[in-house]
Amino acid sequence: MIELNDVSYSYEGIPALKHIGLRIEKGESVALMGVNGSGKSTLLKLLNGIIFPDGGEYRFAGESITRKKMQDPVFSKRFHQRIGFVFQNSDTQLFCSDVYDEIAFGPRQMGMDESEVEKRVEDCLALLNIRDFRHRQPYHLSGGEKKKVAIACVLALNPEVLVFDEPLNGLDPRTQRWFVSFLIQLHESGKTLISSTHDLEMVQEIAGRAVLFDENHTISADKPAQELLEDTELLKKANLIDEYYHRHPGSGHQHFHIHPF
């Protein structure tokens, strides 16, 4: 589905990604880990066609994604429909004056008739448990509620790949739990998920696979999530944890856990 071959990117001379090689298959759930500034967010922008590699190649569903190709409106719109991006800060994602219009924004553009649009919006509202907000203004919702609306409006496009930038940031513990189970649900319904996070607990629950970025903007590990989390030496090297970090021995899960099914 997604293929990065030797991709590099720099912001005005300051490197953010160096020689990244990564393959993500359809239906996988991958977590990108790494300290602040290691290049995770840049990679997510690149995956969504907001920026383009300085060197190397990015292929999505077999097609090379380049600045030139994305200038073709039909190609770029189709691409954006297939991959959805939930921004870290939901404030930057919402610009309509009520929740219903916000979610209907995508479906309406796709040329659906209004009854179909309504079905999609209602489904999304139900799925995210935000039916009561239908006529509220996104601007005045709380952080967690905004996040839900932002996810709903991306979901309404029915993308094949969903990209989340630090999805748990700024959410209260209960909403975090709800969110983790929601991601599991999405994954089980066949979506490809890519999330950046430094929340180690979340990684092992939602992602089958974890990719670790080090401070040199390269990938230092790419293995099953469970395995990576056990490799404390590697995590220390990437400065994600310090010597005080410990996992409770014996059982892998020592924290609260809700199974959605």
Partner: protein, 332 residues
């Protein structure tokens, strides 16, 4: 509508600058009284909002885009006095750091876009809104206010351009600054504003207002209820009279003889000397060289070209080597 330097004579710039100073003073005073200290940072943040608004590309029919100034919008949202200060600061940053609009013409640009635009726009909006007391009346006010506001500003700019060739010519009759007379400047500025920019401004203003009113109606500026009429009447008169006043003072300025010019107050400072070129009159032919005319000694000419030549070589060398480095970087 950002007037660059050298299109308006320094005298015009000074006159318009002098006209804006009292507006600023009144605005600062008003703002202090109206929005209390608690909202002082709002001025700066309002200015950044205004600056960014001018960065937004508004879609036009046919797939092209244009810009809105948003002066009337700010006046409706923050009040005309805050809008005046915010737009002025935004214009200053554009002039100082982005080369958008001149330094000397800063006063003129403020006059047009930070004074005339928001005040005319707001005055008309208020006038209509107070008479047609319904939601329709409010939007009618916004649309007409912002449309006329931006066109009034464009008209002022056109007049400023247009009086230049009337007032500032050399002995040979050549215009020294903007060469287009009123008959050219006014239609050239107004036609695009009447047909396109005004429509963009009005549509954009109404749409943003609608959004804010729906999402957060409490944030819109209420305005002083009492004695607003007198203030607006005064402002309207001022706006109408200023171009005339400008024309009058400008004439005086333009007609000064060379002996009087030593006492001219320009940009707040007495010039204190008589430019020699003015005494001798000016001839375009004399300016174009055989490289030793125009009042410059031959040696000085050589030095000048040597300095320029060395500088150009250095610049070319630096740019070429930096380009080389860049291409290397990409291929590595």
């Amino acid at each position: 509508m950002h007037i660059p330097d050298n299109y308006l004579s320094p005298a015009t710039c000074a006159a318009l600058g002098a006209a804006v100073v009292p507006v600023w003073a009144v605005s600062v005073k008003k703002v202090k009284k109206e929005i209390t200290r608690a909202k002082m940072p709002l001025l700066g943040i309002g200015a950044s909002f205004s600056f960014l608004m001018m960065m937004f590309n508004v879609p036009l029919p046919g797939g092209t885009t244009g810009h809105a100034v948003g002066g009337t919008l700010l006046a409706i949202l923050l009040g005309p006095f805050s809008a005046c200060i915010s737009v002025s600061v935004a214009l200053l940053i554009q002039a100082l750091f982005f080369g958008d609009g001149g330094i000397l013409s800063f006063g003129a640009n403020c006059f047009n876009m930070a004074f005339v635009l928001p005040f005319v726009g707001y005055f008309i909006y208020k006038f209509i809104k107070d008479r047609v007391r319904s939601e329709k009346g409010e939007y009618l006010g916004i649309v007409i206010g912002s449309y006329i506001g931006i066109n009034a500003a464009a008209l002022c700019a056109a007049i400023e351009f247009g009086i230049q060739p009337l007032l500032f010519r050399d002995a040979a009759g050549q215009a020294l600054y903007s060469p287009y007379p009123l008959s050219v400047a006014i239609p050239a500025m107004l036609i695009p504003h009447l047909l396109v920019a005004g429509v963009v401004e009005a549509a954009f203003t109404a749409a943003i207002f609608a959004f804010i009113k729906k999402v957060s109606p409490g944030t819109i500026y209420e305005g002083a209820k009492e004695k607003s009429k007198a203030v607006y009447g005064l402002l309207a008169a001022l706006i109408l009279l200023t171009p005339l006043g400008l024309l009058a003072t400008g004439t005086a300025w333009g007609e000064w003889g060379a002996d009087e010019i030593g006492e001219v107050v320009s940009n707040g400072k007495a010039l204190g000397f008589i430019p020699q070129g003015m005494q001798n009159g000016f001839s375009f032919e004399a300016m174009m060289p055989d490289y030793s005319v125009g009042g410059i000694p031959e040696v000085a000419g050589y030095i000048l070209s040597a300095v320029a030549g060395v500088a150009v070589l250095l610049i070319v060398f630096k740019i070429v080597s930096s380009l080389k480095k860049n291409t290397h970087g990409v291929h590595e």
